[in-house]
């Protein structure tokens, strides 16, 4: 595969959320507003790219039977960096993302890419893979957050949409998240089956 394909495969063909169904907890929990979704994408992509670089660098020195704990420690260190940075410079974001920042550690996308891609490929390809996967993650989060924020809070980017309309608060809560992602997957299946 060329480098360009390493980058673009995360968007559709191997989209981490919509195709591989990885990393669902942060996806559904933080998409109550678009700004939360964007910050989550930023944080997760940073951790993903950095851990991909490191895993790819140390892949030849790590004994294979203890590789998972080592990968998790690398990931947890970068998550701590993100956590402290957000706490220091963006306290509002830190507060609204809450426990989902430390939970980036157990986001299966990151460990999955470390195990499946970065531990077998070079640094440059791993960076591109991380960026592409992060972008795919971000796109899925953005679409989810778009529907949930507009229907559940009657807002977009924090701005009021239709004055006087009563939003349906179930959309901002757990049921709305499940139903929205189910509809997204359905539409995706329809598109894929038309193509094939």
């Amino acid at each position: 595969m060329s480098n360009f394909q390493e980058f673009t495969k995360g968007l559709w063909k191997k989209n981490p959320i919509l195709v591989l169904a990885l990393g669902l907890c942060p996806t559904l929990a933080v998409t109550t507003s678009i700004s939360n979704a964007l910050w989550m994408t930023l944080a997760a992509t940073f951790v993903l790219v950095c851990s991909n670089i490191f895993v790819s660098l140390v892949k030849n020195f790590v004994p294979s039977h203890i590789r998972i704990p080592i990968f998790i420690t690398i990931i947890a260190s970068f998550v701590t960096i993100v956590e402290l940075t957000l706490k220091g410079f963006q306290p509002e974001v830190y507060k609204s993302l809450g426990i989902f920042i430390p939970l980036i550690v157990v986001n299966c996308i990151i460990l999955g890419r470390a195990e499946e891609f970065a531990s077998k490929n070079g640094v440059a390809a791993s960076i591109l893979d991380g960026l592409g996967m992060g972008l795919g993650f971000g796109v899925a989060l953005f679409i989810l957050a778009f529907f949930r924020e507009s229907l559940g809070a009657n807002k977009l980017f924090g701005l009021m949409l239709i004055p006087g309309m009563e939003p349906s608060s179930a959309m901002i809560l757990a049921p709305g998240a499940f139903i929205t992602i189910s509809m997204m997957l359905w539409v995706m299946n329809v598109i894929n089956s038309r193509k094939g």
């Binding site: 907890c25 929990a29 947890a76 701590t80 430390p102 757990a174 499940f178 139903i179 359905w186």
Partner: protein, 199 residues
């Protein structure tokens, strides 16, 4: 110490703030292991066990190691390492002590390390202010146990529904994940009813 406080924590983690259906933690095993009721029970029991133990150990490490030495920022790293080694330890002990139990739980144990509900309950115990509260250790263990029971309840309900769904006639494009999410959404809607409960 009032028993009532502990009871409130237990009920609210099982029903009102159900980890899967209202806080959306631990979704990967929830979707992955809910195809058969047998494996749902096995996974549920393993999660209850690990969550209770993890709440106990992470609380002790946080209160008596991280806070006194002022290294609280190592929370995430230390918690995930505690959980990973705990899971490994539990796996080895069960294998030696009760091979029969190991047969039924064995394959689920390694999966628990990446269950975000376990790390979630450890972090939430700290965030709920149990560290400085009276009897904080007991409270966090109860919260861990309740979270595990809530997870098992959601998993069992889901697996029962999915076993019936196998026989249903579902449109082709909705089969698999989409209909599973739709079911989870309806279950979550039902659990929303508990949020009005006053205890």
């Amino acid at each position: 110490m009032e028993i009532k406080v502990l009871f409130t924590i237990l009920i609210s983690t099982i029903f009102i703030n159900n980890y899967v259906l209202s806080q959306m933690l631990g979704l990967c095993p929830f979707l992955g292991v809910s195809k058969k009721t047998d494996s749902a029970i096995g996974m549920g029991l393993a999660v209850i066990f690990v969550m209770t133990l993890a709440s106990f150990f992470t609380f002790i490490i946080y209160k008596y190691v991280l806070v006194p030495y002022e290294i609280v920022y190592l929370r995430t790293v230390s918690f995930i390492l505690i959980i990973a080694s705990l899971v490994q330890l539990v796996e080895m002990i069960i294998e030696k002590v009760s091979p029969a139990l190991y047969q039924s739980l064995g394959i689920f144990l390694p999966l628990i390390t990446t269950n975000c509900a376990v790390l979630g309950v450890a972090v939430l115990n700290i965030n709920s202010g149990f560290v400085t509260a009276d009897f904080g250790l007991i409270k966090s263990v109860i919260q861990g146990f309740g979270a595990g029971v809530g997870f098992t309840l959601a998993l069992l309900l889901m697996s029962g529904i999915r076993e019936r769904l196998e026989l249903a006639d579902i449109p082709k494009n909705l089969q698999g994940l989409p209909v599973t999410f739709l079911t989870a959404g309806l279950l979550a809607l039902a659990f929303l009813g508990f949020s009005g409960m006053k205890i």
